[in-house]
Subunit: 205 residues, 2 copies
């Protein structure tokens, strides 16, 4: 990608000048949208945070819905790649899940569904579908590992996609102020979540 060439001459360079402007916009927009939701974040807001002008944003993205779509898809693709890496570098599934839990809990974010519900008022069906497809990749990745664990007799027979969604939902515990207060670190909370996900609350299987 040669987006460096697209910087408008005469405007101040953005802070991280080695990174293409488009990448800075995507990364910053995704972070702000995930922190504050769709409506609370304006293009002015994003331009200021990136140290670029608003016309620079329009050079790269047609409008706010397009920037939202592109930035959230880029984020989900990054989470997917990162999750695959965390699972692969671990010796077994449990360690892999611990890696994933620890990483996500160290970066808590509000419920994705709530942000999507708000954004759905502004995005086209095509834009929403592309985001959902990028999101589904992550669940398919987890589900494929859970399916393997079932085939290998480690997991009980179950719907692998439901397990993937359950594990991700359990990580929302990291957003709870009261839960966070009970644990010294994201790693400690992650251990508890993975233990409950794998073994449940009860004695009897």
């Amino acid at each position: 990608m040669d987006n460096n060439t697209s910087r408008i001459r005469g405007r101040p360079k953005h802070d991280t000048s080695r990174e293409p402007v488009q990448d800075v916009l995507l990364r910053t927009a995704a972070r702000l949208f995930m922190e504050k939701g769709y409506e609370q974040v304006s293009l002015d807001h994003i331009a200021r945070a990136c140290n670029v002008s608003k016309p620079s944003i329009y050079y790269h993205f047609a409008n706010k819905p397009e920037l939202f779509k592109a930035s959230v898809i880029a984020l989900l693709n990054m989470v997917n790649t990162k999750t695959a890496h965390l699972l692969d570098e671990a010796g077994d599934l449990e360690s892999g899940l611990l890696n994933v839990a620890e990483t996500r809990l160290a970066n808590p974010h509000p419920e994705f569904e709530m942000i999507m519900k708000e954004a759905a008022n502004y995005l086209s069906p095509d834009q929403l579908e592309l985001i959902r497809a990028a999101e589904q990749q992550i669940y398919h990745l987890l589900a494929s590992r859970f399916k393997l664990a079932m085939e290998q007799g480690e997991f009980r027979t179950n719907d692998p996609m439901l397990l993937a969604q359950t594990f991700s939902t359990m990580l929302l515990l990291g957003n709870r102020h009261d839960t966070r207060q009970q644990f010294a670190s994201p790693s400690d909370l992650g251990k508890q979540i993975v233990d409950l996900f794998l073994h449940g609350a009860s004695f009897a299987n």
Copy 2:
């Protein structure tokens, strides 16, 4: 409560005229705040939905933060009472959890934490603390049942409050469009959630 006497003369009666105005306001405000968040709901909005004038709201509540506080606490108290009833009328803990899951999944709402995060910008520390105390009641109720199950050897030794928070968080699966699509009814999804909460994904305990 004799709030019926507080209706302002000459104004149109609200729809459900047998219910005290204050109760209608609390119930309607809680529903709207939970559906749309704090900022998206105005007092005008609530007045229209209740078929009362805005001055009628100010007769009962000093301002929007006060109405938010009172309505959310009333809702949490109702959820607490309802949850106790659902657990008590069941023959055992598993059936009780199924009752709770089914009821909550039939009434999905966005993540409470996200709404509270938004409201925290407008409410006083005292108002926030009162809401948190009402919320904690529900977790303490669930935790007390889980503690009993541990003492009776049904549950593994664990932090009862973490179990209560985990079970509640798992019910957020009902907010996911993709998860809902996979299940014919809230009851079917509830069964899967309770099964995973009790027994986990893995074979080995």
